[in-house]
């Protein structure tokens, strides 16, 4: 079952093309969207959320053409939960009040049902105790959880999360992973946190300079880096990146190993760095 489909979707702002024509099908499960800053991840999410029209191509959500009629776009929006990268909260609102408002925007007209839904999502993100607190008085992590809670209202078929774990502590991140992994629909997470991808995602899409560089499962991504990551007394020659580990040995991603170095199982981060290193003249990442 396809939840969302992009066919040759591109986006330009003026003369700057931020997204090359992209074709993607999204199915139920958790999909990680990786890429450096400016790769087009946020633009892709905004296009899917229908807050930004594409420059070309066609976007379908739950069978509705987001680029089609107003009615189709509205129907698509009924199936979407969206967490923007930055959420600006109205001043003076409480956590409950903010979610109540978003629930109204999501057409929860019956007051009792709406309040029950608000309490449900507050409980999901463990903010039940903070329901009456003003948003301005919540910590950064609590505000992020509140922003995530609004996206969960109505258990949407397509959940679009832009950097959801930014500002969350390890416990809260683990808790969020628990929530997201239990959702029945399709979750698309744009993130810089490769640990989140390896812990949570069935599928990874790597964007770079507006184009899809990789689209496959986490094991497939790891396979691209197999035998290319080493730990040794010295850095590999021409490594994409290296760093000194806590044991004093050098972790090298890519390049030719020197005597004494041994291969280690790659992480998603290693594979991602290798992919970036091979797809660009990525001098900045070399150490």
């Amino acid at each position: 079952m396809t939840t969302a489909r992009l066919e040759g979707v591109s986006k330009s702002f003026g003369r700057t093309r931020v997204l090359q024509p992209v074709t993607l099908d999204l199915h139920p499960g958790v999909v990680g969207l990786l890429g450096p800053n400016g790769a087009g991840k946020t633009t892709l999410l905004r296009l899917l959320a229908s807050v930004l029209p594409p420059s070309s191509g066609r976007i379908e959500v739950a069978g509705q053409d987001v680029t089609g009629t107003h009615a189709e776009r509205t129907e698509a929006r009924r199936r979407i939960g969206y967490l923007p990268q930055e959420v600006v909260f109205p001043r003076g609102m409480t956590a409950f009040g903010f979610l109540d408002y978003v629930a109204v925007l999501k057409e929860w007209r019956d007051t009792a049902a709406r309040h029950a839904e608000v309490r449900r999502v507050l409980g999901l993100v463990q903010l039940g105790e903070g329901a009456t607190r003003r948003v301005a008085r919540l910590s950064g992590g609590q505000r992020r959880r509140l922003a995530i809670a609004q996206a969960l209202i109505g258990a949407p078929e397509l959940l679009l999360l832009d950097e959801p774990t930014t500002g969350l502590d390890p416990e809260q991140r683990a808790s969020l992973r628990g929530i997201l992994s239990g959702l029945p629909g399709t979750v698309l997470i744009s993130t810089h946190q490769t640990e989140d991808v390896s812990a949570l995602c069935d599928r990874v899409v790597v964007l770079d300079r507006g184009a899809v560089r990789f689209d496959g499962s986490v094991p497939d991504l790891l396979a691209t880096a197999a035998g290319r990551v080493y730990v040794g007394p010295e850095a590999n020659v021409d490594a994409v990146t290296t760093w000194k580990t806590g044991t004093g040995r050098i972790h090298s991603v890519g390049g030719r190993p020197l005597p004494g170095a041994g291969p280690v199982p790659p992480s998603v981060e290693d594979a991602y760095l290798l992919l970036r290193g091979s797809s660009t003249d990525h001098q900045g990442a070399r150490s």
Binding site: V51, A71, T74, T94, D100, Y101, K106, E107, R109, H115
Partner: protein, 271 residues
């Protein structure tokens, strides 16, 4: 009554949970439950049934209270969800005030200092509601990005917010028209142009962005006033014929807006 001969029945539990038992009966239930496993199970069942009550209590505590003006509207039968949307527009008060205030200030300065005071006031005063509309729609909404991805009718949101903005803007504009010397004769005649322009902007909003719709309407109106002034007396716009025509434009736009929203509604777009 001994613990062996008696068990707490449903009616007693209901009265106990509601606090309707007298102190002696309540103490008897307390003492009995301690020594009776069957009734302890019954007590647990009561706890389960009380859960929705706790939910309701928590919700009543957590739910923010609507401002007094909106509570009055609720008593008058306004839908609760519309009132929640309006209450969430508190952050827009400042942009509304800035839009309306700056427009009025321009009109006052022009009215006091310029030989073309009538034209200035006639250009600016009817645009106050349009400016309110633009500010109210999405130009300064902090949750614009979130709201954009929801199915709620943006036009409905605009209408709700415009109504709220006008409740503030209209009396203020009327007061300025009545108080500023020389503007008194014009104090009321801007209302019909304002109706026409706001209707036009709302109609255009079903196709265009708020800024574009507001800009098109403002430019068109400014051209009308300037052209009228150059051809002779701008006060012709305040005459009965022009006022009737502007009223007709307003009513026409309102009718077209109804037709347009009905068409969109039949296509599945929420009102």
């Amino acid at each position: 009554m001994t613990t062996r001969e008696w068990h707490v029945d449903g009616a007693t539990w209901t009265a106990y949970a509601a606090g309707r038992l007298d102190p002696v009966a309540q103490a008897a239930v307390d003492a009995h439950v301690v020594s009776c496993p069957a009734c302890r199970d019954g007590a647990r069942a009561q706890v389960v049934s009380v859960e929705p009550l706790w939910e309701a209590v928590h919700t009543a505590i957590a739910r923010p209270r609507l401002p007094r003006s909106l509570r009055v509207l609720r008593r008058l039968g306004a839908p609760e969800d519309d009132l929640v949307a309006l209450a969430a527009s508190d952050d827009l008060r400042l942009p509304w005030a800035v839009a309306v205030g700056s427009s009025l200030l321009c009109a006052m300065v022009a009215g006091l200092a310029s030989a073309h005071q009538d034209a200035f006031f006639l250009v600016l005063a009817p645009l106050v509601p349009v400016l309110s509309l633009v500010a109210a729609y999405d130009a300064t909404d902090p949750v614009r990005e979130l709201a954009g991805a929801t199915p709620y009718s943006k036009l409905r949101l605009a209408l709700l917010r415009t109504t709220a903005a006008l409740a503030f803007a209209l009396p203020l504009t009327l007061t300025v028209g009545l108080v500023v010397p020389g503007l008194r004769p014009l104090a009321l005649v801007w209302l019909l142009p304002a109706l026409g322009l706001t209707g036009g902007a709302l109609l255009l909003l079903t196709w265009l962005t708020a800024w574009t719709a507001g800009g098109v309407v403002a430019l068109a109106w400014a051209l009308v006033v300037v052209a009228t002034e150059r051809t002779g007396d701008v006060t012709v716009l305040t005459g009965p014929a022009a006022q009737a025509a502007l009223a007709a434009v307003g009513v026409g736009c309102a009718a077209l807006l109804v037709v347009r929203t009905t068409t969109l509604h039949t296509q599945g777009v929420p009102r």
